[in-house]
Symmetry: C2
């Protein structure tokens, strides 16, 4: 019974509620990414507008999480791993809010692309990248819920694949633009959408870093921004051609 | 003497040190933005590489600030405005690190632009935007140091001008691309640089929001992402022409 009482202590309940709020926020962000990809594929303007509107829910939840974390710090004065947990929550909430913003930005671009349809195949490429990002986010949230530093480490490694996919898309979209000036406008939007997804991957990496810090007490070395080198080379190549 | 003792209490010293670290971090980020603009204007590859290297200092300082804040929370258990201060510091450090990343990304693009010079006038436009962002950052850091919520509010309003400048650049660069396919590659980099600056402005707004929250205890309503509408319209117009 003592153990049960411990589990249900007010402090643990607060920590648990905080975790639940972050997971809910993560779920909303994941749904936003999935729906954006769907709206793009189906030319669904109504869905795209809904995504833009629903981003307010994510922003609202971030404020709630921030305030709950502050309250917990003030009232419960957590230490050691519990303190790192609250710290991680504050940082993760910021990351999730940004990913939500990127998805919302993509949804806005989707509505513009209705008027200037992108080249064949380009949408499929974006959707593949979007799917990879969404799965990465899901796994990252799982590692947070399970406090699994090993899983979090794997996610950081997997973010490299996102960067490689982005570089390949960058090249693909540049080719469209060079071949046909009429594709410049839609391809610009696709470029920014791809970049949004690549940056979402960076934020997922940040989430994973927080999970590692929370569990182990040590922050992994930040080598996120190795990413972009290839796309710079791609551009140089494009210029030579 | 009691007042003097109070000012020099260990707790106040910790708070003061934390503020100093954030201000130093902000100074490094500001220098990074200024230098990136200079490297672009002078085709200075060496300076651009230095900016990329120096971003590690900013990242390192963010880790230091995070750990110092955590330590302060654990040891001093601040409440009320002091707690909000530490909370603001954690959020602001994240924002500054991101702005540093954007500047580093711009520096990388600058080295690529050496091989594919951008259209006349385009560099001047980017530099104007960069200067506005740098001044906004400086004022935002001042509002943090002075705990001046009124000044912070003005910054949020001024970020709208950054968004308008960005929209105008977006149109300008799109025109270059449409007129001459050879300018597509450099103009793509300029697009991303402009977008980096526009996003830096968003992060400066976040810093100001944290200052307001810290001073007043109330978070201002987030209407940052009104920004992008005009540039979507610009693109649609581009497509019609």
């Amino acid at each position: 019974m003592i153990e049960k009482e411990h589990i249900h202590s007010a402090f643990d309940r607060d920590l648990h509620n905080l975790q639940s709020s972050v997971m809910r926020m993560g779920g909303l962000v994941e749904a936003s990414i999935i729906n954006t990809s769907r709206a793009l594929a189906d030319n669904d303007e109504e869905l795209a507008r809904k995504i833009v509107d629903d981003d307010q829910l994510i922003d609202g939840l971030e404020s709630e999480v921030n305030l709950a974390a502050l309250e917990l710090l003030a009232l419960r004065q957590p230490i050691a791993q519990d303190l790192r947990f609250v710290f991680a929550v504050l940082k993760i909430a910021t990351n999730l809010e940004r990913i939500g913003d990127y998805s919302k930005n993509m949804a806005k671009r989707t509505t513009v692309l209705l008027k200037t349809p992108p080249p064949n195949g380009a949408v499929a490429s974006i959707r593949r990248l979007s799917h990879s990002v969404q799965v990465l986010l899901k796994d990252s949230l799982d590692s947070f819920a399970e406090r699994d530093a090993e899983k979090a480490r794997e996610i950081i490694v997997r973010d490299r694949d996102i960067d490689l996919m982005y570089n390949s898309l960058f090249r693909e979209f540049l080719t469209y633009m060079m071949e046909d000036p009429r594709s410049i406008t839609p391809a610009m939007h696709l470029h920014f959408m791809a970049k949004n997804l690549e940056r979402a991957g960076d934020h997922i990496t940040s989430v994973s870093e927080q999970v590692i810090f929370q569990v182990t007490g040590e922050m992994p070395k930040d080598d996120r921004l190795v990413e972009d080198t290839t796309s710079y080379e791609a551009v140089s190549m494009g210029a030579v051609n």
